[in-house]
């Protein structure tokens, strides 16, 4: 089901052929002499929602955007402090207001899935099956409630531009590196303004290309980035969350593995588990163990195991137990204020440590 979204051919080979196809499609879809894309845009605007939640302090807007991805009212949006309240409200472009249920999140992609309490009501939505890949040069539209301009029954704002590159995201937020490092669509529109996160990037046929990410600066230049995370990168994870499976792209069916991973099998020692919710700090590392090979260090705080948030030592033990020790384990730790991805290799294999992350740029 998800395979048709994967890119089979190398991007560049397909580029020209696809570009011509798109060009022709674009020509037919856009009146050459007319001056408007209104009907298409109205259709897209109905699928983009305004989200209101926590925030409101200086430079912490209490709003963001989201996209409807199912007839059951599932909304994909950015995982952010805005959702950090029980009182999240979603307002559609026709002014209908819904309370939401938090369905789940993918901390690496920094995306969350909400579900509107629809009752008998119906909504328009993007079919992820119809989502399209984009290539550099493709004309696109960014649809979001940037700056919270739209209120009540006002529809989201539209910006136009072109995909200027498809490239891995190398970005930071303040001193922190962005979690997601995969490919993004870089666009020349000012798409990622305050409040735009969670909005839609669509092509000129109204097909969903990606979700607008949070405000980030380039790790290299410090410039604000304008980008969207391709549907390819998150559809599987979002569908897993919608299907009620706990977490992200890597989580399969929840079967107990033959040889569950344990702290001992990794060579990992956590601080003594004295409280009901002891923070899972690393207390020690067994020399020449998978953990030491992977570069884990004492005082690391384990915040994710295979994308699942771990708030206590017990969480870490339970999460590890769901991983077969022959598969290795993917952790994220907080070290010196920075989120670091760590891949712990399977014990029987030779060293394959995660590339150590360059420290984030200093704030200019």
């Amino acid at each position: 089901m998800t395979n048709n979204r994967k890119r089979h051919a190398p991007l560049l080979n397909r580029c020209s052929a696809l570009a011509i196809t798109l060009l022709l499609a674009a020509l037919s879809a856009r009146p050459a002499t007319g001056a408007t894309a209104s009907p298409l845009i109205r259709d897209v605007q109905r699928k983009v929602v305004k989200i209101y939640g926590a925030g409101g302090l200086r430079q912490m807007e209490s709003y963001q955007s989201g996209i409807l991805v199912s007839p059951q009212g599932h909304v994909v949006t950015a995982l952010s402090y805005v959702l950090d309240t029980d009182d999240v409200a979603v307002v559609l472009d026709d002014g209908r207001k819904f309370s939401v249920e938090f369905v789940g999140s993918d901390p690496v992609l920094e995306l969350a899935v909400l579900q509107l309490q629809l009752g008998e009501q119906e909504v328009d939505w993007f079919d992820l099956e119809d989502a399209a890949p984009a290539v550099p040069g493709e004309p696109v539209l960014a649809v979001s409630n940037l700056y919270g301009i739209a209120a009540g029954d006002e529809p989201a704002s539209i910006m136009q531009g072109v995909v200027t590159a498809v490239a891995p995201l190398a970005a930071r937020r303040g001193a922190f590196q962005a979690n997601y490092r995969g490919e993004v669509y870089v666009v020349d529109a000012h798409a990622n303004n305050p409040g735009a996160a969670g909005g839609a990037l669509v092509d000129w046929q109204g097909r969903l290309l990606g979700v607008l990410g949070k405000e980030l600066k380039s790790r290299v230049t410090g410039a604000w980035l304008n980008y969207a995370v391709p549907v390819d990168a998150w559809a599987e994870s979002v569908e897993a969350i919608m299907a009620g499976r706990a977490a992200s792209s890597s989580s399969g069916l929840e079967l107990a593995p033959d040889e569950p991973t344990t702290l001992a099998s990794l060579g990992l020692v956590l601080v003594p588990n004295l409280l009901a919710c002891t923070p899972p700090f690393v207390d020690g590392i067994v020399p020449a163990s998978p953990a030491s090979d992977a570069g884990l260090k004492p005082d690391d705080l384990i915040v994710f195991v295979e994308g699942e948030p771990t708030v206590s030592c017990s969480d870490v033990v339970a999460a590890l137990a769901r991983i077969d020790r022959r598969d290795g384990a993917r952790l994220a730790v907080l070290r010196d204020g920075e989120l670091v991805d760590v891949v712990v290799a399977a014990p029987t294999e030779t060293d394959e440590t995660a590339p150590s992350d360059a420290p984030a740029d200093e704030e200019q």
């Binding site: 002499t33 001056a35 200086r58 301009i149 539209i158 136009q160 072109v162 529109a189 000012h190 303004n193």
Partner: protein, 597 residues
């Protein structure tokens, strides 16, 4: 067709050698040619505006061949009456400040020296849709040494947007949002549609933490709002915007009136505390904000239909909008604004979509202090000095005088050669009432009376005029006729103060040119047809909290060398009092005065 696509075509042709050169489809070639033509046409009327000291500036757009150009209030605030305006022909023209609208952030200047200035084609901003292509022209960062405007192309991102007041005055309502780059210096410049028709006046942007440069969110005042205020700006006044005379709140069951002035027209038309407002100016109201958004585009005294609900019943009324500010308050605010244009009056926290350290981010650095300039009385260029009169409440009183003279001359010409001779106060007017029956009106300098089917009533024009409101229900027909006679006899000098207001709705007709005149505590408004010069209506306001008598005049026929109206429709409030069809008109009839006594 966006430029992006054309660049895309070029990129394809050059980067892949195996690809045969593409034939440009004729549609694309045509679209490109059309765009080039539209940009070229639109650029001609785009103005680069500088203050006389050359320290700041902005943009503008010419809307009439005699050089009237629209810009933002915040571009001219603090620059005094003399400006310099550059056109793409490379010539720098003297320009004079005409009128300002500090609430709507509009200003009007007049370029001098030609009467064949290039004029922008005026579009209809109500027809603008999200997704339409649009382009901004102007002088961002004051880059153009030869005054050729910079052009930025983009899309309409939103329509009917509302942007909160920055400071206490400036408020953008029902405005256009575009991703065409709007930068400092674009302020006051035109936003055009793809055909090169003017759809808005650029003036504001959302910038927030990314610094004072475009981030794809610019706002333009709709051209329909600008055109509605244009004649008012030409009056040289400091303009105000409208208020409902009531405040509303969004509640679960709709937009509810939570306070109302009992002196307001809205109250007299039946609106009450607790009523739900459903529609205003034929637009649906779903939130209190939506109501302010719609209201903000009208001048005071504009008339708009309102629909409201009470106890399940729906009522329709046409209400005369009130002023938003007290006139003195407005002048004080403008003076503070002019004194320190970099900081709008008031210490209100800024909306969080604007950079708090930069409350009017799109505003350019201006001269530090208008009052200093005024105190030192700098010598104005001769051409400017001839067209500038300072007066409290006005940006430039000279233009108000001009408008009064223009209306008066046009009216005299309409009246005919003999109009100079006074018809006096002794009239005998006979005819029939449209609803049935006859009437006789006898007038004199001190008293008048009218016999209608319902009876005879009179009025005495000595002492307090404001109590002489007979016949009952007319709002003061006899007084209105008396003031009309005074104007015919003595001209506008009979009135204590005369102010040209601009074009305002007059009865059910198109907006007409309006003079406001004071006499003996009564305000009389004279309405003139902009085309013919005829005086088509008088409105007589005996007090602030009562409906005026509206005397609408039509069916003009020549009588004794003078064009006289033979149909008078008298209205007060939302009711028609009577329509009088005149059969016989006698003026300066001897003995009538005695007879009436």
């Amino acid at each position: 067709m966006p430029s992006a696509l054309l660049i895309f075509l070029a990129a394809l042709a050059t980067t892949d050698p195996t690809l045969a050169p593409l034939d440009v489809p004729p549609d694309v070639a045509t679209a490109e040619a059309n765009r080039v033509a539209a940009v070229s046409r639109a650029s001609e009327a785009t103005v680069a505006i500088f203050d006389s000291a050359g320290k700041g500036g902005g943009s503008g757009v010419i809307v009439s061949a005699d050089g009237f150009a629209l810009t933002n209030f915040h571009v001219v605030a603090g620059s005094g009456p003399a400006l310099k305006c550059g056109l793409p022909d490379g010539v720098l023209y003297d320009a004079v400040l005409v009128g300002i609208d500090p609430v709507g952030d509009l200003a009007l200047v007049q370029l001098l020296g030609r009467n064949d200035f290039p004029v922008a084609a005026i579009g209809d901003s109500d027809d603008v849709r999200v997704g339409d292509w649009a382009f901004a022209a102007g002088n961002p960062f004051l880059l153009a040494d030869d005054f050729t405007p910079s052009v930025s192309y983009g899309m309409i991102s939103g329509v009917r947007r509302y942007q909160y007041p920055a400071g206490t005055l400036l408020e953008y309502t029902d405005c256009l949002q575009t991703d065409a780059a709007i930068n400092p210096g674009n302020s006051g410049g035109p936003l055009f549609n793809a055909d090169g028709e003017l759809i808005g006046i650029n003036g504001r942007g959302s910038f927030e933490k990314r610094g004072r440069k475009n981030v794809g969110v610019g706002y333009a005042i709709s051209v329909n709002q600008a055109m509605r205020f244009l004649s008012h700006l030409k009056s040289g006044r400091i303009l105000d915007h409208a208020s409902l005379g009531a405040t509303v709140a969004t509640e679960d069951d709709g937009v509810i009136v939570d306070d109302i002035l009992d002196s307001s027209d809205a109250f007299r038309r039946g609106l009450r505390y607790g009523d739900e407002i459903v529609m205003l100016a034929n637009r649906e109201i779903t939130t209190a904000n939506a109501l302010q958004n719609i209201l903000g585009v009208f001048p005071p005294d504009w008339r708009v239909p309102v629909r409201f609900r009470r106890d399940g019943r729906t009522f329709d009324a046409v209400i005369r909008l009130a002023s938003k500010h007290d006139p003195a308050e407005l002048v004080a605010l403008v003076q503070r604004e002019a004194a320190d244009p970099s900081r709008p009056p008031g210490d209100e926290p800024q909306p969080d979509d604007e950079d708090p350290s930069d409350p009017e981010p799109n505003k350019l650095p201006k001269l530090p202090d208008l009052r200093k300039l005024l105190d030192s009385k700098p010598k104005l260029p001769k051409a400017i000095a001839e067209r500038y009169i300072e007066r409290r409440g006005f940006a430039n009183y000279w233009y108000n005088q001009q408008a009064q003279q223009r209306l008066w001359s046009a009216w005299q010409q309409f009246q005919g050669d003999d109009a100079a001779a006074s018809p006096g106060y002794d009239w005998l007017v006979e005819g029939h009432v449209a609803a049935g029956g006859d009437f006789i009106l006898r007038t004199g300098p001190l008293q008048s009376e009218i016999r209608l089917p319902q009876g005879v009533t009179g009025a005495i024009f000595r002492g307090d005029l404001t109590s002489q409101l007979s016949p009952p229900g007319s709002g003061g027909l006899l007084l209105a006729v008396h003031l009309w006679q005074r104007m015919l006899d003595e001209g506008l000098r009979t009135f204590g103060e005369v102010v040209y207001l601009g074009r305002l709705p007059c009865g059910d007709a198109e907006p007409a040119e309006c003079l406001s005149c004071l006499y003996g505590g009564v305000e009389v408004r004279l309405f003139f047809d902009a085309t013919t010069g005829a005086m088509i209506s008088l409105e007589c306001y005996s007090s602030d909290d009562a409906d005026p008598c509206e005397l609408h005049l039509s069916d003009f026929r020549e009588t004794a060398g003078r064009m006289l109206p033979h149909r008078w429709t008298i209205r007060s409030g939302d009711r028609e009092f009577a329509t009088l069809e005149i059969d016989q008109f006698e003026m300066a009839v001897d003995g009538l005065r005695r007879e009436a006594q």
